[in-house]
Each structure stands twice: as structure tokens, then as C-alpha cells.
Amino acid sequence: MKQMIDNAIATLENCRFCLMCRHVAPVGMVTNQEALTPHGMALLVTSQPRGLVAWNAETVGIVFSEVDGGNSRAHCATDQPFEEAMAAARAELVAQGLASTAVTQLHAHLQQWQNPYQPQLPQPATGVAQVALFAGDEAAYLWPDTLPAVLKLLSAVGMEVVGVGHGRNNGLFAHSAGFPDLAAQLWQATLDELASVGAKQLLLLSAGDYYAFNGRRGGFSRPVSASARVSPADFIEVTDLLAERLAAGEIAFRKTEDETPWAYVDPTHAVRVPERHERVRGLVTAVMPTPPRELFWRKDRAQPVGSTYIQFSNPPLAERLTRARLQDARDSGAQLLLCEDPATLHHLNRYAGEYGLRVQGLYELLAERVSSEQ
């Protein structure tokens, strides 16, 4: 913990007077408040040891308003791990017992149920297979139509998979909220399950899941089980796999006849996986009959919805982030929003109607339109 905090302080000492990522920093953008920019947050955290501010509900609340979507680091010229440093700062506050009741309750729920959404334990993995699919908690509880659709798509490309981590958080959520030990336990539990089913490859449903298991950047380290036989190259997003199979002619889709103006919404954490931006779009255009509208905040500047841990630590802010995405989508002229990430879909769907928008899961759409003739 001490090393983590020392690294965090070193990073935040760099960030406290640097203003160079604020053009993409989600919370500062939606609130226009300096204290909620990366510079402001870093200045606040580094001012506490200097005796300029005290930890109290207000200042702790600011630290727990950093969204951890990856935007600052994605646009940092010198790759400062700002988000990871803020997560470490939150971990320190949690360790000192200074976190809010909401955060404490989140910790308790995650610890007991391994997910933040439902009082229900993960389903144990059964069976043996070369390939496993991390079902997670978001697909299980936030957008349950995802899993049957994905299984149908995988079947269409001849893949039989075993589900692991069904109902379990991917660990990133706990890591973001300042519970690194709990995050490690969650990761480990899934990796152990992976080993138990004998899988050598783990399929992931979203950019967030992919980042959680295969984050390649130094600041966000996670344990790798000695028993798991997967290497980093064996973590694959389902959208990537489908795009690859589509390109190889191993799967095909019938285009829909729905000419509703549409847009693809890059999900939360998409900026952390920049190579996915074009690949997933290739997949979507295989099934949509008209050219896409594009959100202004897309691809490498995509903003998160309120689907990270802040939906618990600061629900009004989470809502503002989601509404900002919906406003962006409406401004693009789209009426139909497509995305594959269960959490992003869930949050967009909560308010989409107020913006005259309809939200549809990409996996479900693809499963509906998969062609039986390949």
C-alpha cells in the first residue's frame, strides 16, 4: 500500500499544475468546476500533506468524483497514470476510514456478493472447455439479453464456451473505488475459475472487461494466477473475435431494414483500448443499412457514461455524465444508439427516452441478423 501511495503522490505532484488533459477530462467537462478537473483533484490531494486542506466530506467527495474512465491518461503526452493515482488516493482514504457511507456500503456489498448490484453470489462455473467467456456482473444484472445473444453468435462461429465469473465483478470496479485488496480477490477468483475449467482463452464482453483483465499499462497491476494458463494475448474481446471472423468470411449478417438514423456509442473505458474503435465499427456497419452518425465525443476522445464506481459514490455526477453522452448523441442526429457494453447500455437506457433516443444492444442485434448461410 505504501509503495502504491508513494507512486500516486509522485504522479499527482506532476499533475497538480498541469492542465493539459482537461479538454478530455469527463467530470471537469460536465461540471465546469476547476476542483473537479484532473489538475484540481491533483492539487487537492497534494495539498493535504502540505496542510492546506483537511480531509472532510467535501474534499473526500471530490476524490471520489474522479470517474476512472481512462481519458486523462489516454491523452497525456507523458503517460502520467492519473486515474491510477487517484484510485490509490481513494484506497488510502478507505484505509484511513475516511470514505463516505455510500462507499463503505459499496465495499461491504462487493465483499459479500462479489458484485455491487444484487445480493446474489456468482454462479459457479461448470464444464470444461478450451475457451471461457467472462460473463461478469454487468451482463448478468444490468443487460441480461447480452449473454444469450453472445452465446448464439459464438455458436455461429463454431465456438463452444464455458461461462466464468457469472455475476462477479471484473475487479476494475473495486479497484477504482479504492478497494485494491478486494479487487485482487475478485480477479483471482475469476482466474482460478478459468483454470478450473481448463480454458486457455478468455473472451470478454466489453472494453472495461478487457482492460480489467488485460490492462497493459504499468500503473494498473493485477495479479495473475499461477494456475491460469492464459497469457495476455489470450484475452480477447468478443467484438474483436466477431470482427475477425467476419473479415475471414466465417460469419455473415443480414442487414436490417431499419433506416432510423443511428450511432455507435463507444462504451466506458473505450479510450483505454484504442485499437478497438475501427474494428467494432466494422462490425456494426455489417448489419446496419445506412451510414452512421458519429458522436462528437467518440473513439479516442469518447467520454464515459456514469457506469463506473461513481454511480455509487456520486450518483448525481454519474447521471450528468450519462446525460452528456445522450445529449451528444441527440446532437449527432441519431435516434438509435448501439453499443455492446452491458453497463453502458443500462445507463444510457435509463434516460434515453427523455432525449427521444432508443438504445439497442449490439450483440442482440447481431444475433438477430446472423446469417445461417456462410
Binding site: 499544475f17 465546469n32 492546506l52 491523452h75 507523458t78
Partner: protein, 468 residues
């Protein structure tokens, strides 16, 4: 009572007196308040942070401030290096970032009209979607606002061809200190009477609050050709730059590093180890025309003893041009530092450089001062010298550090004024250079004071800045 009146204007959600907000708004990018915070001391804090959403709301806020004689400090991105947004007398911090809409992109006249609080990079992305660009490429674009480009008369990386921010603005909406909202004429270049328009450029919030601006934009260039040349003699390099400009070869950038910068900054950021003066030049637009301009320019450089380093070092510089300012490459604590940049005509430029360098290095040799400089914003008649002093181990005691800091500035600016320079080229005056305004303007200064008094009779607007 004041808070409740402000709340009536903007709503409770858009006003803050929170401890954390007040601390964060206590400093812009000026070394002095940052040093204060670094040492664990608290600079002067604003009393209220207010986030207006319209020019009308700003007008109402200024009326309240006049009633109670409260200072008002406009705040955009907070990226100013001169202390222009430091709330040295407390009062109302007027954060204009909610005024962030693009109102119109005119693809016929090539103009964009936007609210002044829009972020520079966001505005640029929006223009890029239409194949356009606002050619004010400020290093601070990721954080600065449109109003912040204009208020201190900023220059961007490609100002050598496209001009300063003030050369791109056609029209502005301004809230005067007494609460009237005015709009300058539709275009700036006319013979329809005195030019009050430019009075607000460089006023840094002391004459009013810029709330909207129409800017000239350009098509994104078809080609950008960059090249680097190494000179062993700084004077020859300056002469090359002079000839490129006076012969109207239209480089969009000439960035000439002095030997000290070449040995330190260029090495650190670009990884090149070279002795001499490293110069990057760039040409853009039509590929054929740009290539010809580059060829003619290269001939001049070679004729003056320059060594052609080819395109890669120029392109690498372009790709990393802002990295000089990011941590850990940029200026940082515990150093003491300042950018003593200036501008003058070609006949005085080299002499000014040596005079300032000698004055700073000799006077503060005991402090192991580093003086580095580059020449970055070129005109048909001269260029800017972007000079910096760095003291790696300044005094630990804050008051003593400030005294040393101010002495170095006195030395640097005295050298500037004695050698035909202006106290600043593009960072503005702010708090830092406020005390030099009377020396720079001499008998003209009282006239500016009368204008200030007339526009802002109660002196509420950004007091202590720009000499007022």
C-alpha cells in the same frame, strides 16, 4: 447577502464558497502563487466562485459587484502564466466556462462564432470535422479558452504565418464593467471611426469580460512540410530567419533554439544531442507552393552556414511541440523559473538576446541560474525572444524566494526595455508585469489610466493586473 444576490442571478448550483474550490481557484499558472502552495502557504483566495451561463448573467453579476465594490476576476482555463487570474484582492471569481457553445460556423466567409468559455481544443476538433482550423495553435489549447486566447493577446505555434489571436478576431461581444453588453462592428478592418475594438485585446479582463467572438478560420492545409537546420552561429540563424520573413517566404513556423536550449530542451524532449542552434521551419498549404517555399528557404539557410538535418527532425519536433510543456519536461518545482519573453525588431533582436542573457547570468551567477531562449513568433519586421531563467535551488523561505524572483524579473525586464524590447509578446501582463507598465508606456500611461477609470469607475475589474 452578497451570495444570495449572486444566487438569484445564476442559481445556487452555480456558485461556490467551498474550501476546495477556493483553493483551486487561488492560482493560475504563475510561478508565485504555485510556489506559495508548494511551500504549504495559502495564497489569497477568492470569496465566491460564480459560473454564469450567459452574458446577461455576467452583466448582472458585475452590477452586484459595483454595488458592493467587490473585485471580479474573469477565469477561463486558468492557464495564464502571468497571474492574470490570481484573485489577489479576493472577491468574485467569474468562471466563464459554461459559455461554451459554438454559435455558427460560416463556411462561406470562413469564420466561427463561439462563446468565450469554449475550450480551445474542443473548438479546434469541431472545426476539424468540417475541414477547417483556427490557426491559433497555443501550447495551452487543451486547457485555454477562446476568451483566454484574446484577452492577453496570445500567439500560437503557427503565428508566423497566421498571426496572433488578435489578428484572427473579427468581432467580439463584451460585458463592460458597469454591466452594459456591447458588440463590436461586424468586421474589424474599416474606416468607420476610431478602433475601440482593439482596446479590449490585451486588457486581460480589466476593461470588461469577453463573452463571445467571431474568429477567422482556415482550411486545414493540404500539406505541412517541416525541416530542421543546425547553425553553429546564432547570429547567422537569426539572419536566416530575418531573410525568410522579409522575403515573404511564408513559413508557418520558425522555431530557433539558442545553443543552451538545444543542449537541454531539444535533447530532453526530442533526444537529439547537438552543438549549435537548432532551427525548425515549416511551410504549409498547397503542396507545390509549400515545397517551393521550403526550397528557397533552405537555400538561404545553407548560404548562411546552416546544416540541413532533413525532414525527420522537423517532423519530430512538430509531433512533440507541446511536450516541452508537459511534466516532467516542463518547468517544475522546486525550481524557481520565469519566462521573460519579449519582442523587438530585427535590428535589435540579437543584441537584446545577449543583453538579457548577460544581465541575468552575470547578476545571478551565485544562484547557478540557467538562461535559455528560443525565437518563436516571427513577423515581417522582427521576432519574439522566448527566454527563460531557471534557478534549480532557490531559497526555501517563501518571502526570500519572492524577493529573489522579483529581482531577477527587474533585471530581465530592465534589459528588455533598455534594448528596444516590449515587456511581453504573448503571455500578457497579468500581475507579474503589472509594475512595469508605467515604465513601458511612459507619458502614454496616464491616458490608459483615464480610459480604465472611465470604463470601470469603481475599479472592480481584475484589480492589480495590467498596471491598473
Amino acid at each position: 447577502m452578497i451570495r444570495s444576490e449572486l444566487e438569484e442571478v445564476v442559481g445556487e448550483e452555480y456558485i461556490s464558497t467551498r474550501e476546495s474550490d477556493r483553493l483551486v481557484y487561488a492560482t493560475d499558472w504563475f510561478w508565485l502563487p504555485q510556489m506559495w502552495l508548494d511551500r504549504g502557504a495559502q495564497p489569497t483566495l477568492p470569496d465566491f466562485i460564480v459560473h454564469p451561463g450567459t452574458a446577461v448573467e455576467i452583466a448582472e453579476i458585475l452590477k452586484i459587484a459595483n454595488t458592493y465594490r467587490i473585485p471580479v476576476v474573469p477565469w477561463g482555463g486558468g492557464s495564464g502564466s502571468q497571474g492574470g487570474a490570481a484573485p489577489v484582492f479576493g472577491g468574485i471569481m467569474l468562471d466563464v466556462k459554461r459559455l461554451n457553445r459554438i454559435l455558427e460556423i460560416d463556411e462561406t466567409s470562413l469564420t466561427v462564432t463561439a462563446e468565450a468559455g469554449i475550450n480551445g481544443s474542443v473548438l479546434e476538433w469541431a472545426l476539424n470535422e468540417k475541414g477547417l482550423t483556427l490557426p491559433h495553435y497555443a501550447a495551452s489549447a487543451n486547457c485555454a479558452t477562446l476568451g483566454g486566447y484574446l484577452a492577453p493577446r496570445g500567439s500560437g505555434t503557427i503565428s508566423t504565418k497566421y498571426g496572433k489571436a488578435e489578428d484572427m478576431v473579427l468581432r467580439m461581444e463584451i460585458v463592460l464593467p458597469t454591466g452594459e453588453i456591447i458588440r463590436t462592428p461586424h468586421v474589424p478592418d474599416h474606416a468607420g471611426g476610431p478602433d475601440y475594438f482593439h482596446l479590449f485585446l490585451g486588457s486581460e479582463g480589466t476593461f470588461g469580460v469577453i463573452t463571445e467572438a467571431t474568429m477567422q478560420v482556415d482550411y486545414l492545409p493540404e500539406a505541412r512540410l517541416l525541416r530542421a537546420v543546425l547553425f553553429q552561429n546564432l547570429g547567422h540563424a537569426l539572419e536566416a530567419g530575418r531573410q525568410l520573413m522579409t522575403r515573404r517566404l511564408s513559413p508557418f513556423v520558425i522555431r530557433l533554439y539558442d545553443p543552451a536550449s538545444t543542449a537541454t530542451q531539444v535533447k530532453k524532449v526530442l533526444g537529439y544531442e547537438m552543438d549549435g542552434a537548432y532551427m525548425v521551419m515549416g511551410f504549409d498549404g498547397d503542396p507545390d507552393i509549400a515545397a517551393l517555399q521550403e526550397q528557397k528557404s533552405l537555400e538561404i539557410c545553407l548560404g548562411l552556414g546552416g546544416q540541413d538535418l532533413g525532414r525527420e527532425p522537423g517532423e519530430k519536433w512538430w509531433d512533440h511541440r507541446y511536450h516541452f510543456y508537459y511534466p516532467p519536461n516542463g518547468l517544475h518545482f522546486p525550481w524557481m523559473y520565469g519566462t521573460t519573453e519579449t519582442v523587438t525588431t530585427f535590428d535589435k533582436l540579437e543584441k537584446l538576446y545577449w543583453a538579457q542573457k548577460r544581465a541575468v547570468e552575470e547578476t545571478y551567477a551565485d544562484w547557478n541560474v540557467n538562461y535559455i531562449g528560443h525565437f518563436s513568433h516571427w513577423f515581417h519586421w522582427g521576432a519574439s525572444l522566448y527566454s527563460r531563467f531557471i534557478i534549480p535551488e532557490p531559497p526555501q523561505e517563501a518571502e526570500e524566494a519572492i524577493r529573489l524572483h522579483n529581482r531577477i524579473w527587474d533585471t530581465a525586464i530592465t534589459a528588455v526595455l533598455a534594448n528596444g524590447g516590449i515587456i511581453n509578446e504573448h503571455h500578457g501582463v497579468g500581475l507579474k508585469l503589472s509594475r512595469f507598465m508605467r515604465r513601458q508606456y511612459g507619458p502614454a500611461w496616464p491616458m490608459l489610466e483615464r480610459i480604465k477609470k472611465s470604463l470601470d469607475p469603481n475599479g472592480i475589474m481584475n484589480p492589480g493586473k495590467v498596471g491598473f
